[in-house]
Symmetry: none
Subunit: 112 residues, 2 copies
DNA sequence: GCGTTATATAATCGATTTGTTATATTCAGG
DNA sequence: CCTGAATATAACAAATCGATTATATAACGC
């Protein structure tokens, strides 16, 4: 699977998004991540594996447990893709487009 | 399926992302959307259905064909979710931030 | 109405996903 | 070493996905 598909696919599960949300408060072990969820430990382990395969988190062995941390640069890849479309919904950003258009066409008249 | 999951899931397929990319150039019929792809018409029809169910596109009957258009506000929902995490990766400035910084400090200087 | 075009739906198939329980691995501490 | 905690893996079942072919629906032009 291509990288972007893996990222979006990993994000398409509410449990995994909740795990990411938890990790935005700081690193945590898999056991701690599992706590809020009514599913088994192996199920969480697989969710973690999906997130790791997509590059959204990293795990480092730390003695007995494994510390999970966010890899935000991977989320940025998804955000960058979506940003291609930002101009279609975010009128306020047309300020930027206007600015860029201006500097690209320094003296000529209408920008429209 | 919850809305955000449906959106990310719809975005997790390269064919569907290509369809959205094509629609960013303007509305198109299903047949026209299908043209670049080596898969059957029903397969495209289902991809369109997935995108429509997620709210990423809309279709309006237009005589014999159906006009597909982007619904960018739905993409904004995914972008908004990701933006919660932007602070984790975006230490430096985005283009917009750079622009806003520039106009806030009109003194000029290095463009780099 | 008829044939053509555009599109959706149904039936089906194989691959993937998500959960389960059971078991293995790996480390810490006595 | 042995026990227990933390985590991964295996084996399996049910659900979903993405593709196919065949068929249905709806509108157009004659």
């Amino acid at each position: 699977m291509d990288r972007l598909s893996a990222i979006f696919s990993a994000l398409s599960d509410p449990t995994r998004r909740a795990i990411l949300a938890r990790l935005s408060d700081g690193p945590a072990s898999a056991t701690r991540l599992a706590k809020p969820f009514p599913i088994s430990q192996p199920a969480i382990s697989r969710h973690i594996k999906v997130l790791r395969s997509a590059g959204l988190i990293a795990q480092t062995r730390e003695g007995q447990w494994r510390r999970c941390v966010l890899k935000p640069e991977t989320m940025a890849e998804a955000a960058d893709w979506l940003d291609q479309y930002r101009k279609f919904w975010d009128q306020s950003l047309t300020r930027l487009d206007t600015y860029l258009t201006k500097i690209q066409t320094p003296k000529k008249g209408k920008i429209s």
